[in-house]
Symmetry: D2
């Protein structure tokens, strides 16, 4: 397919460094052309021995660096809006990590800016859409094998939460994955949310409302429930059961090697999302590189990014104020018409 | 253990006939002494060739028949109160099918009548407490292996609902099993209930709100959710996942023989509760016979029967009126002190 | 069904005591009438508080005790032949634990004695035929769902072997269950056997050839392989995979409650055959009592007992001498014609 | 890591075309520089629109084409020896599909040629060593978690065999994967083989001995059994259970999405090795490219290729002549000392 796609990676933290490694060593057809991070030492360390990479303190400077043909945004959420708008201004294709923009107002500005361009430039990093099991479930639902979907039962568990994780982040960071997955699997917008707060686990940091139980209603009457428990202690579990009129399907069950010893048959539970979704990240970035080199933009769009932010905001309000909160979305620009999906 | 326990079986319908067969052929230490049913032809058919059984049109007459030492009530729910009170008046040990008494006022009258006797005579037919998997889960929770329980996720699916099944019966007939199981597994009373109504399945009879999604809160802050779907079409599935502070456990998963052919590995799903819980029914009745012959009363008590009715009534109100409904129970007589449990 | 069947239990060891308990407390329609054991103190202890049981030092005396209508033989294998012949002489129905008779010559004498009577009196205790999973596999094979059976892959593992267990006993005690199960599942006689001896596990007692790998050939060209490993350390596992022309089926997989904690999802493995096959024993004895009370004899017959002994003898010869050993059975009396099966 | 590695692909059949696609679109750090196939039209079709690829009728000519730095051999087995020797003569690193060389004499000549060079140039295409589940099993065994390995039970099933598949090919094409996997997992050479021939399935082509059951013994007394059944009709199943002194572990079980509908819970079985081992192929070629660019040679070596051929030859002799066949390997050159492994 000719020359390698030159990518500027914005952000050299945990996620950014992982994407730099991925572009260099895993993904075919791309190369890292520039890296930006306010902490340039960290950026240089992430680049390591990769040749031909310019390092920048300023994200916008990286966009203008020689050889840059596309942008991967892995900086902190609050920096995304400016980076996206700068990429749009330069006509550069973007892969933007989630959350696209943390607040729905900013997210909507990004949607409107892209809509004004009249063509898509951004793919949003909802990597579950690239996970083999999620894709099989999507295809099963789309093929009608379960009849009309009635309910999704979701589980999202982490071993422990990182420092400074707040009760709101269980919704807008953790459950945001289920928000996108539910919209995508069902092909429906979410219309209301209710967050329930069981007595917190003593394994959670003082003051953190963990676990939570989140209920979404959809525009055509389906129900989505999510157990989110980010200090469960034992592993990273992301499961989903879709219940339709004629059957149900489950993904995310433990599998792989089963070891029998000392009175039990045991299957490993992954400890980390980078393990569970390693392949999904690889496929996501490869799909983005492949589409970009063909001059196309595919995958989750900025409308998906906006909707996730708007739904999460409603969820946080339900968490804080109690009760059911209605979700209202802005009018959907034609660029993101559903027939595209 | 000496002579066989003579049992009067009230009701010779589906359940009653099954218990007659069980007492005659499966259970050790008991014999059917009398059978009552307003339809005496049906009663005679259920008795078949069993020797030494008197047949009665009137339930109370059966209690007074020769050789009757204990009563198994399997008549329709509205007839239970009178039969229980008559058994209490005669000091006869009783195994009473669920619902103990359909309305909570009547159920409370039964509780109070037994409390006045000052000793237990009745075991209520919540047979899940005798299922091997439920018992293992109970013992796991009681042993503290999962830490404090935070949530129970329950699934209750039937192939199809019987004729005349109403939306309220999804709560007070189907979910009543989960109500008892949750109270028993957690050792806590339920304090509030919210029933959600997804768009009904087109596989459900016209007008039936099926599936429903029921949320219970408990006195110490745990959450219990139940998907009840009585026209799922594919099988009888009763599953429960308990999530504690340090681990989770699931029961009710398909198991048994796995057949691989034509592109898939398949495990049977039972089609019927009499298949899924056949052993539980056998163990329940055997435990009742064994305890009775030893002059003891064990198992779920009339308070459990009352609480199930009261919680189900609140659930039906939530279904009909929408929103969260608080559950208030009468004061608990000393006879049913928690230390008994 | 009228009066309880009076049973004489011969042998009050581990197995005998368990059957006494079973007849008294689990099985419907029978009572223990007499117990015999050379150690009468042990016999009395096994009887415990059960009323109306005579205790005997001599097995034959127990057969003649008042109220004895049927015999359950649970004495050591070498005592079985005499007990069976004595029961035949008295026309008493018998349930005889395996091995029917340890050596095939003695076993053949029992077959011939029963054949001379011209009617069956004995059921042999191959309890796997009463296990729910084995029965489902049998019914699947008989129904043709897998096509003609080509292979059976079997696993037979125990936590540890009892004292004085010999290398030959892996074949004639442990694998004898697979021998009967294979003959029954396939409806074919076994025609040759080869025993392979991997390097013994250091977990096995000094000198014990454990594990062994046993290969059987059948009269119509199917292959049966058995891993037998009686000091595996972790649990009691009995698995069987049947491979047919159009599919395969597996039984004996771990199931039941799955617990997730500390990095893994774990399912219990039973530690003991009395746990794994508790229901099978109950069903076996209940089936025997039910048939006997109806004047019938069902289940595995003395020919099955003889064939198991003859095949096991050939297996021990292969173990000791190496190589493949042909199996030759005596002519099959008409009483055991295959159409009976 | 600098410039892309230029690869000559020899053979543009099914496997070669798949590798061309993989190098172009999946693997990072390599490009297709030349393709050779006697059928140059087929070669051109496989190249498609990839730029900068020279097409050759002659394999050796491709090795000398501009930009070629490494060779991937995917031509038919009989052509491998010449190609390997030509690559050695030019000092080119090679990834050679299995069988390395079909006959063990030719395979040994390749080993000796490389040994004379004094350094490894070739990696042999046993892709199971790159499968995630096999790697976890290997690491479990190497870590001692199961104690000393005693037995491997293997299953190798295909939906149906390709045209012209012979009885010998069940051993030297299909089972050759298990031969390498067993040697690798156990770290031991195989010393004897016995092939058993159950009555063939009526689903197999006339004259094909399918299934077969293959037993290997190892130098330290472990036992490896393989069911190979290449016309099983229902799917592609590759399973392995390792039994050690203190536990057992199984890989290759069906997993992924479980769909419940119409009376059963169903998991897909892959229909094809390219599905089951897609990731393994990707990782294998990526590992080869990565090592080559670092000037290293890793993975299965020519000794592994030779051993597989020698063991398979003994297996075919056992199949054809019956009975147990001893396996004797040539002396192992120092270059392939076990400490390398």
């Amino acid at each position: 397919m000719g020359e390698l796609l030159g990518v500027a990676v914005l952000g050299a933290g945990h996620m950014g460094a992982d994407h730099i490694r991925r572009l260099d060593q895993v993904v075919s057809g791309a190369r890292v052309a520039a890296v930006a991070d306010p902490d340039t030492a960290r950026a240089k360390e992430a680049v390591g021995g990769i040749a031909g990479v310019s390092v920048h303190e300023d994200a916008v400077a990286a966009l203008d660096a020689p050889g840059v043909e596309a942008v991967l945004i892995a900086s902190p959420g609050p920096a995304h809006e400016e980076a996206l708008l700068a990429a749009f201004a330069r006509g550069l294709p973007v892969l933007c990590e989630k959350p696209m923009v943390p607040d729905s107002d900013g997210a909507l500005r990004v949607v409107e800016a892209e809509a004004r361009l009249g063509r898509r430039l951004a793919q949003i990093g909802f990597m579950r859409r690239y996970d083999a099991e999620y894709r099989r479930l999507k295809s099963l639902l789309d093929g009608g094998a379960l009849g009309r979907p009635l309910m999704l039962h979701c589980t999202h568990r982490n071993v422990s939460s990182p420092p400074h994780f707040t009760s709101a982040m269980l919704i807008n960071s953790s459950v945001s994955h289920e928000i996108d997955a539910a919209r995508w699997l069902l092909g429906q917008e979410l219309t209301a949310v209710t967050v329930l707060r069981p007595a917190p686990s003593s394994g959670a940091p003082q003051g953190l409302l963990d676990p939570q139980f989140v209920l979404f209603e959809t525009e055509r009457g389906a129900l989505v429930d999510v157990e989110v428990f980010v200090n469960c202690g034992f592993g990273y579990q992301v499961r989903c059961e879709a219940v339709g009129e004629t059957g149900s399907a489950r993904i995310g069950e433990e599998h792989g090697m089963a070891v029998t010893s000392g009175g039990g048959a045991r299957q490993e539970v992954p400890q980390d999302y980078l393990v569970r979704f390693a392949d999904a990240y690889d496929r996501e970035v490869q799909a983005w590189v492949d589409a970009t080199r063909r001059g196309r933009v595919t995958g989750p769009d900025t409308w998906d990014g906006y909707a996730a932010s708007a739904v999460a905001e409603a969820g946080v309000r339900s968490l804080e104020e109690g009760g059911r909160v209605q979700i209202t979305l802005a009018p959907r620009p034609d660029l993101y018409a559903r027939t595209d999906r």
